[in-house]
Symmetry: C2
């Protein structure tokens, strides 16, 4: 892994340097929905990430402490990935992105209900989401 030079200390920039690509936030999203995922779980997602890209993104996210690896309780052949606190704290970002996209694009039917709840009391929705996720740490 090469150390990419830091472009600036702007918080937007620092964030983009870590997860500013077309895949990383989908991995984070999967972990927010499912709490724990195996490598295979990520590959099953609708967007069909390539296995080498998945491996490289997981590595970057792990190196930056957004996710951690755990032993799978059932099998040594499996690995569980889960969000760290730092990863969980991206929940507000994920919520706002979702709400933005919902305003301008079609959203799958099954997502609409959650988004309604998020809108009704955004702060509470976010706080509760984070609290729930942190229970699993």
């Amino acid at each position: 892994m090469k150390t990419s030079k830091k472009r600036s200390d702007c918080p937007i920039n620092r964030s983009l340097e870590i997860w500013g690509d077309k895949w990383s936030l989908l991995i984070i999203r999967d972990l927010m929905f499912k709490k724990q995922c195996t490598y295979g779980d990520f590959l099953k997602s609708e967007e069909k990430i390539a296995t080498n890209i998945l491996a490289s993104r997981l590595l970057v996210l792990e190196e930056n402490d957004l996710i951690t690896k755990l032993d799978h309780p059932d099998s040594k052949a499996k690995v569980l990935y889960q969000l760290t606190e730092k990863g969980i704290e991206l929940f507000p970002v994920i919520v706002e992105i979702s709400l933005w996209a919902e305003k301008y694009y079609e959203v799958p039917e099954e997502r609409k209900l959650v988004l309604e709840k998020a809108k009704q009391n955004k702060a509470a929705f976010i706080e509760k989401g984070i609290r729930k996720m942190k229970e699993g740490l």
Copy 2:
């Protein structure tokens, strides 16, 4: 411009398909801070985007109605870029990203004050920011 195939209707995915890269949100950020920017203004930003990348990102953002071009009042040689309503609505995303990064990374001194204000009353801060920006439309 090639039409990239849609990977899924997930709102996170739809968003990433448009601005999921290392530069687009920096352009959006600049426009949120400065309201209107010329091509040269973007090039002056600390992160030093390459001119061809800037041109291609501006085109994508314009094609997706996040920004618009305006005639510069002073000169036909200049072009003004500004956010559309759809672009302005990304403000909550920008705020949450900033707050996330502030928790885990160094932030330039001059940004700290505004981030404090954002934290103190996030909803009001966001609403006011959006309202102000929409005045310029």
